[in-house]
C-alpha cells in the first residue's frame, strides 16, 4: 500500500465550460441586467468587470420536496435550558425552532435568498453589450482585446535568446576582443622571441630550451584566442512601447428637451458608449465633454447629462457654439484629436437647422477629426427631420450621420468611423 501526493493546483479552468453554459442559459436575464447597468454606469466604467444579480427563480431546478409547513412536525433540539414537558413555544420565535427540517443530511440549497450575485468578467459583460449592438465579429474582437503594451526592437543587449542574436554586432564585438587580446599576446611573443635570441646568442642549451618552451607557450596562447566567444554575443533588445501617446477628446452633444424620452436617451447612451469604447482602444487618453442643450447649451457632468432634466424649446446651434468655445478654451486642435458625437431627435425650429449645418461645416469640422450625428427615435419622420435634411447638405469625408431607430442601428451609425480608424 503506497500513498501518493499530487499537486493539482496546476490544472486550471475546469469550471469554465459549465460557466459558459450557465451564462448562455441566463442570457435574457443577463441582458436585462446589462440594460440596467448601461443606464446606471458612466461611460468610463464600462471597461471593467461588473457584478450582476440574478434571481434564483430564473434558474431554478425543480424537484419533489416536502412542504415543511404542513403535517406533523417533530424536532429534537439541543441546548434546552428553560423548557419543561408541556411548555408551549411560539412558532415564529427565532430561538428554539431554528431553520430547516433538522435532519442531519443535506437539504439542498436553502432558499433564504431570492437572488445570487456573481461577477461578469469585462469580456463577458462587453460581449453581452455588443451582442445587442450586433457588432461585426472582427470589431468585437478588437474591442474585447486588452491593449497589451507592444514590443519593438530597441538597441542591443548582451543577453537574450539565440533567436535574437544580432550577427553584425556580435562579429564586431568579436573583432574588438581579438584585437585587444592579440595585441597583448603579440607583446609577449616579441618578448619571448627576444629572450630566445639572447639565449641562442649565449648558446646555453638549458636557457634555449626554456626560452623555446616559453615562446611556444605564448604562441599557443595566442592561437587559443577563440574566434567567437560567448562574451561577444549581442542580441537585439525588445522594449515595451506604449500605444501611441495621443490624446483625444470626445464631445457628447445631446438634445435634452422634453421630446427626448427615456428610450431615446438609452439609444443615445449606447451610441456614446460604443464610440467611447472604440476611442479608448485607439487613444491613450480620451477626455469626455458633455454638452446638453435645449434652447441654451450647458457643459455638464455625466450624471446631469443623462439624468438631469431641463425644460425649454430646442436650439441645436447653441450646443455647437458651446463646443466651439470649449475647444478654443481647453482643447487646442494641435494637441487633441477632436471627436464630436451628437444625438438628437431631430427637432429644430425655424432657421436653427440651417444655421447649425452652416456652423458645423464652417466652424467645427475644420478642427474635428470626426463628427457623427445620430438621429435617435422611432418616429416616422426620424431620418427626414429638418435638422436631418440640413445636415444632409454637408459634404465632408469626416462627417457622418445616421438614423438610429433601434439598438441594432447603433453600430451602423459608427461603422464608417470604425472602418476609417482601424484600432492600431
Amino acid at each position: 500500500m503506497t500513498s501518493v501526493i499530487v499537486d493539482r493546483r496546476v490544472d486550471k479552468g475546469k469550471s469554465a465550460a459549465n460557466r459558459q453554459r450557465v451564462l448562455k442559459r441566463l442570457d435574457s436575464a443577463l441582458k436585462a441586467q446589462v440594460d440596467k447597468l448601461i443606464a446606471r454606469k458612466k461611460l468610463k466604467e464600462h471597461d471593467v468587470s461588473v457584478e450582476v444579480s440574478i434571481e434564483r427563480k430564473d434558474i431554478k431546478e425543480p424537484s419533489f420536496g416536502l412542504d415543511a409547513a404542513t403535517g406533523h412536525l417533530g424536532r429534537v433540539v439541543p441546548g434546552n435550558e428553560h423548557y419543561r414537558v408541556g411548555d408551549k413555544i411560539p412558532r415564529d420565535s427565532s430561538g428554539a425552532q431554528g431553520r430547516g427540517s433538522g435532519s442531519g443530511a443535506g437539504e439542498g440549497q436553502s432558499d433564504d435568498e431570492d437572488n445570487f450575485r456573481f461577477a461578469l468578467s469585462r469580456e463577458e459583460y462587453l460581449s453581452l453589450l455588443f451582442d445587442e449592438l450586433e457588432l461585426p465579429p472582427l470589431l468585437k474582437k478588437d474591442l474585447l482585446e486588452i491593449d497589451e503594451n507592444r514590443f519593438r526592437r530597441g538597441g542591443v543587449v548582451r543577453y537574450g535568446n539565440p533567436g535574437t542574436v544580432c550577427v553584425a554586432r556580435t562579429f564586431k564585438a568579436s573583432i574588438g576582443r581579438r584585437v585587444a587580446a592579440e595585441a597583448q599576446h603579440e607583446e609577449a611573443i616579441e618578448a619571448a622571441r627576444a629572450a630566445l635570441n639572447i639565449a641562442l646568442a649565449d648558446a646555453e642549451p638549458t636557457a634555449v630550451w626554456a626560452a623555446e618552451a616559453e615562446l611556444q607557450e605564448v604562441q599557443q596562447r595566442h592561437a587559443d584566442i577563440p574566434f567567437l566567444d560567448p562574451v561577444d554575443l549581442r542580441h537585439r533588445a525588445l522594449i515595451e512601447v506604449q500605444a501611441p501617446r495621443t490624446a483625444a477628446v470626445m464631445f457628447c452633444l445631446m438634445d435634452v428637451s422634453s421630446s427626448m424620452d427615456e428610450t431615446r436617451k438609452d439609444l443615445a447612451k449606447r451610441f456614446f458608449t460604443l464610440l467611447y469604447l472604440f476611442l479608448s482602444r485607439k487613444y491613450e487618453k480620451v477626455e469626455l465633454v458633455f454638452i446638453r442643450h435645449t434652447d441654451q447649451a450647458q457643459e455638464v457632468d455625466e450624471d446631469t447629462f443623462f439624468n438631469g432634466t431641463q425644460a425649454g424649446s430646442t436650439k441645436v446651434v447653441s450646443a455647437l457654439i458651446k463646443m466651439h468655445e470649449v475647444i478654443a478654451l481647453r482643447y487646442p486642435a494641435s494637441h487633441y484629436n477632436i471627436f464630436g458625437a451628437q444625438a438628437s431627435d431631430g427637432d429644430s425650429f425655424g432657421a436653427d437647422s440651417t444655421d447649425s449645418s452652416a456652423y458645423l461645416l464652417s466652424q467645427l469640422l475644420p478642427y474635428s477629426r470626426y463628427f457623427v450625428y445620430a438621429e435617435v427615435g422611432d418616429r416616422p419622420e426620424t431620418g427626414s427631420t429638418s435638422l436631418w435634411s440640413a445636415y444632409s447638405d454637408i459634404q465632408a469625408e469626416h462627417f457622418n450621420m445616421a438614423a438610429v431607430r433601434s439598438r441594432t442601428e447603433v453600430y451602423p451609425a459608427l461603422a464608417k468611423l470604425f472602418q476609417r480608424e482601424q484600432p492600431a
Binding site: A17, A69, G79, G86
Partner: protein, 490 residues
C-alpha cells in the same frame, strides 16, 4: 526514512511534509486496526475546491449548466464571506482521493490528513452501506465513461436536446434510487458492451413497432388487464429508462447515468453523523498520539485543538451539528465500554464493559445514522446536549415540548432523534403504481404522505412538467394517506 525523528512545527509545509505526516498517521492508525484504501492526497486551490463542491467531490463529471450555476452560487457565498471553504473533501474511491486546500496551515493539514485519509477512508472501506452500494474501484472509470458519453451525445444530438433531457432527469434524481434492492456493480467495460447491446435491442424493438404504433386509447372501465407494474416501483428513473414509450435509446442511457451517480451518494446521505463523528474521533486521537510521540510540537497541537473545538461546536436551539453529535456519540461508546455506569448497563447492556476498539469496528461496519443513534445514544449524551423534543401540527402557532432530557423521556427522545435521520423526513417517497401500457400510456405515481406532509406545490408542478417531457404521455401524481385514500391529484 531518515527524518522519521523529525518534529513538525511552524505553519509552512511542503508536499513531502504532507506525505510524511500521512505516513506517521498511518503508523499510529495501524495500532488501532484502521483498514484503509491507499491514499492519494491532492493539493488544490480554492477555485478547485469549489469545483469539488459542484461535483460532490468526484474529480470528473459530465458537463451541464447546473454545475456552472452551483459553482457561481458557491463562489459567490465564498467571496462574500458567507461561507468558508472546507479544508478537505474526500470521496470513497480506491485509491482514496483526499483533496487538501493549499491555504491550510501545517497544523490544519495535520488535522485533515488523519480526518480524511484515516477517518473517512476507513469508514467508507468498512461500512456495510458503502460496501454494498458503492464500488470504489470502478467509480472514476464510470465517471469518465459518463462524461465522454454525454459529450458524445451532445455532438450527435445537439447541446440543447441533451441539456433538456438532463434537466428533466436531474429533477427526478432523488427518485432514482434503489433504496432496498442492491444495485448492480459498476463496471465500465461491461457497461460499454451492454450499452451497445441495449442500443441494438432498442432499435429492433422500434422496428417491430406494433407495440408503439397502437394508438393510445382510453382504458375500458371494466378492463380486466392486470395492473402494471405488479408492485409499486420506487425507482422512478429506472422505470423511465425501461418503460418510457417515447425516449430514444441515448436518452435511456442518460437516465441510467444520472441514476447510477445518484445511487453512488446514497450511503453518504445515511451515514453523515456516524461518518463525521468517526473521522473527528480519529483525527483527535491520532493528533494526540503524534504529539505524545514527539512528532508534532505544542504549537501545532494547540492550533489543531482550536480548530477541532470549532468543528464540534453545538450552538443552542439550532440544528444538530453532525460533527458534534457524532463525535460525542463515539466518545460515549468508548466510555461505556471502558467505564460503564449502572445506567449504561441498563440501557446499553450489549456494549457495556466490552473491548472498545472491537466494539468500534463492529459498530462502524454494521450501522447507519438511524440505527446507530437508536442503539448507542446514551442517557448522558442526551443530558450533555440538553436535548428536547418539540412538536407541532399544521395550523398550530406554537411548538409543544413533548420530551426533555430526563430519565422518563430518554427512550422516546432517543428514537425521536434517530427518526430525524430517516430519509423520508426530507425526501418524499414517490413510486410508480400504474402504467397504462396497453391503453392510454398514462403513468400514475403515488406519494405516500409522511406524517401528513404535503409536497411543495410549485416545485411539484414544475417537476411533473419535466417528467412529462420524458414520458411523452399523461402523468398523474396522487398524494395518498396511510390508508391509501387519495388526498389530492397533481
Amino acid at each position: 526514512m531518515q527524518n522519521s525523528t523529525r518534529k513538525f512545527s511552524g505553519s509552512e509545509w511542503t508536499l513531502d511534509d504532507l506525505l510524511e505526516i500521512e505516513r506517521i498517521c498511518g503508523q499510529h492508525a495501524q495500532g488501532y486496526g484502521l483498514d484503509v484504501f491507499p491514499n492519494q492526497m491532492e493539493v488544490i486551490t480554492s477555485e478547485q475546491m469549489l469545483d469539488c463542491y459542484v461535483s460532490s467531490g468526484l474529480p470528473v463529471n459530465y458537463g451541464h449548466w447546473s454545475f456552472g450555476k452551483q459553482f457561481l452560487i458557491e463562489s459567490g457565498k465564498y467571496q462574500s464571506g458567507q461561507n468558508a471553504l472546507a479544508y478537505e473533501i474526500v470521496i470513497n474511491t480506491n485509491p482514496c482521493i483526499a483533496f487538501l486546500m493549499e491555504g491550510n496551515s501545517l497544523a490544519m493539514q495535520t488535522l485533515v490528513i488523519p480526518h480524511a485519509c484515516y477517518g473517512h477512508n476507513s469508514f467508507s472501506k468498512g461500512n456495510y452501506l458503502f460496501k454494498q452500494w458503492t464500488q470504489p474501484d470502478a467509480v472514476l472509470d464510470y465517471m469518465i465513461f459518463a462524461r465522454n458519453y454525454v459529450a458524445d451525445c451532445e455532438e450527435r444530438f445537439g447541446l440543447d436536446r441533451v441539456e433538456q433531457t438532463l434537466d428533466a432527469l436531474h429533477a427526478l434524481r432523488d427518485q432514482g434510487l434503489d433504496k432496498y434492492k442492491r444495485p448492480r456493480k459498476l463496471d465500465t467495460r461491461k457497461e460499454r458492451a451492454e450499452q451497445a447491446k441495449r442500443l441494438l435491442t432498442a432499435q429492433e424493438t422500434m422496428r417491430q413497432a406494433e407495440y408503439f404504433s397502437v394508438t393510445p386509447h382510453q382504458a375500458k372501465a371494466s378492463s380486466t388487464e392486470a395492473v402494471f407494474p405488479a408492485s409499486p416501483e420506487e425507482n422512478l428513473l429506472y422505470f423511465i429508462e425501461k418503460h418510457a414509450p417515447k425516449l430514444e435509446p441515448w436518452q435511456r442511457e442518460l437516465a441510467r447515468i444520472v441514476r447510477k451517480i445518484a445511487q453512488y451518494f446514497y450511503p453518504q446521505r445515511q451515514t453523515q453523523v456516524m461518518n463525521e463523528g468517526w473521522a473527528t474521533f480519529w483525527h483527535h486521537r491520532l493528533i494526540n498520539d503524534m504529539y505524545d510521540a514527539g512528532q508534532i510540537d505544542q504549537g501545532i497541537l494547540l492550533e489543531c485543538l482550536h480548530s477541532h473545538t470549532n468543528v464540534i461546536r453545538q450552538p443552542e436551539y439550532t440544528r444538530l451539528n453532525p460533527y458534534a453529535l457524532g463525535f460525542a456519540a463515539w466518545n460515549e461508546i468508548k466510555r461505556v465500554c471502558e467505564k460503564p455506569t449502572d445506567e449504561d448497563r441498563e440501557y446499553l447492556p450489549d456494549i457495556a464493559g466490552k473491548d472498545w476498539l472491537e466494539t468500534f469496528h463492529d459498530i462502524m461496519q454494521n450501522y447507519r445514522d438511524e440505527s446507530f443513534l437508536l442503539q448507542f445514544v446514551t442517557p448522558k449524551l442526551v443530558r450533555d446536549f440538553r436535548l428536547m423534543h418539540i412538536q407541532t401540527r399544521e395550523g398550530q402557532d406554537h411548538w409543544t415540548v413533548s420530551n426533555t432530557a430526563g430519565p422518563e423521556g430518554f427512550k422516546s427522545i432517543r428514537s425521536q432523534l434517530a427518526a430525524q435521520y430517516r430519509l423520508e423526513t426530507w425526501m418524499p417517497e414517490i413510486s410508480v403504481v400504474r402504467y397504462g401500457r396497453d391503453s392510454d400510456r398514462k403513468l400514475v405515481l403515488q406519494y405516500q404522505s409522511y406524517q401528513g406532509r404535503s409536497l411543495v406545490e410549485e416545485q411539484t408542478v414544475q417537476t411533473l412538467k419535466q417528467l412529462r417531457t420524458l414520458w411523452g404521455f399523461d402523468v398523474r401524481l396522487e398524494a395518498v394517506d396511510q390508508h391509501g385514500s387519495v388526498l389530492r391529484t397533481y
